[in-house]
């Protein structure tokens, strides 16, 4: 998750654009899904942020 957040932050800050980021399966069960949302949100600085969660 740290690696994803680092890239999200770089892309968000350098582009100033809304960012769509893959959150895989949520990095684990419930509490990790919530943590992913918080961390992804805080990593992105502008616009609408979006994460997609995958079933598989």
């Amino acid at each position: 998750m740290d690696g994803f957040c680092k890239i999200i932050k770089e892309v968000s800050h350098s582009s100033g654009l809304p960012v769509i980021a893959d959150a895989d399966t949520g990095f684990g069960e419930g509490e990790m899904c919530a943590k992913a949302v918080w961390e992804y949100y805080e990593a992105g600085a502008s616009g609408i942020k979006n994460s997609y969660f995958t079933e598989v």
């Binding site: 769509i20 419930g30 919530a34 949302v37 992804y40 994460s51 997609y52 995958t54 079933e55 598989v56």
Partner: protein
């Protein structure tokens, strides 16, 4: 593939977290791969579960035709308490999806289209061209006008 019920629980937790950290501004998109694993009917049923669980956007992966995209959009249009989800399409190269234009996706009811590895593929081709030219010619001058 995880059960729809278990994944809906994850979506519910993510939607609650979005509400807590951003007042719901952060969009939660739920991807379903069911169309390529079980059936489109299953993908639509799962998408509805995820919308009920709080997903703002649905990403139906593995659709094989324009008709598939149209059907999924038609079935999900207006579904749920908040007037229907946003829809995301994956227009990756060499995948199962035919090459559909942005305008056409819009007409089919999709709000967002991703090209997940396209920039990287184009970049790596340019890198490859440069390295081959460097090996062949010993300098980079031929690249300056590209």
């Amino acid at each position: 593939m995880i059960s729809g019920k278990d994944f809906a629980k994850k979506v519910e937790i993510a939607a609650q977290a979005s509400h807590d950290c951003s007042g719901g501004e952060f969009i939660i998109c739920a991807r379903t791969d069911a169309a390529g694993v079980t059936s489109i009917d299953d993908a639509i049923a799962r998408a509805k579960l995820y919308i009920d669980a709080g997903a703002d956007m649905i990403f139906p992966e593995g659709l094989k035709s324009r008709e598939d995209f149209k059907r999924v959009a038609g079935e999900l249009k207006g579904y749920g308490k908040r007037g229907g989800p946003f829809l995301l399409a994956n227009m990756t190269e060499f995948g199962k999806t035919p090459y559909i234009s942005l305008d056409e996706f819009g007409q089919l009811g999709y709000n967002c289209v991703i090209y997940p590895v396209s920039t990287l593929r184009v970049t790596m081709k340019a890198v490859d061209d440069f390295l081959k030219d460097l090996k062949r010619l010993g300098n980079q001058e031929t690249l300056l006008d590209r």
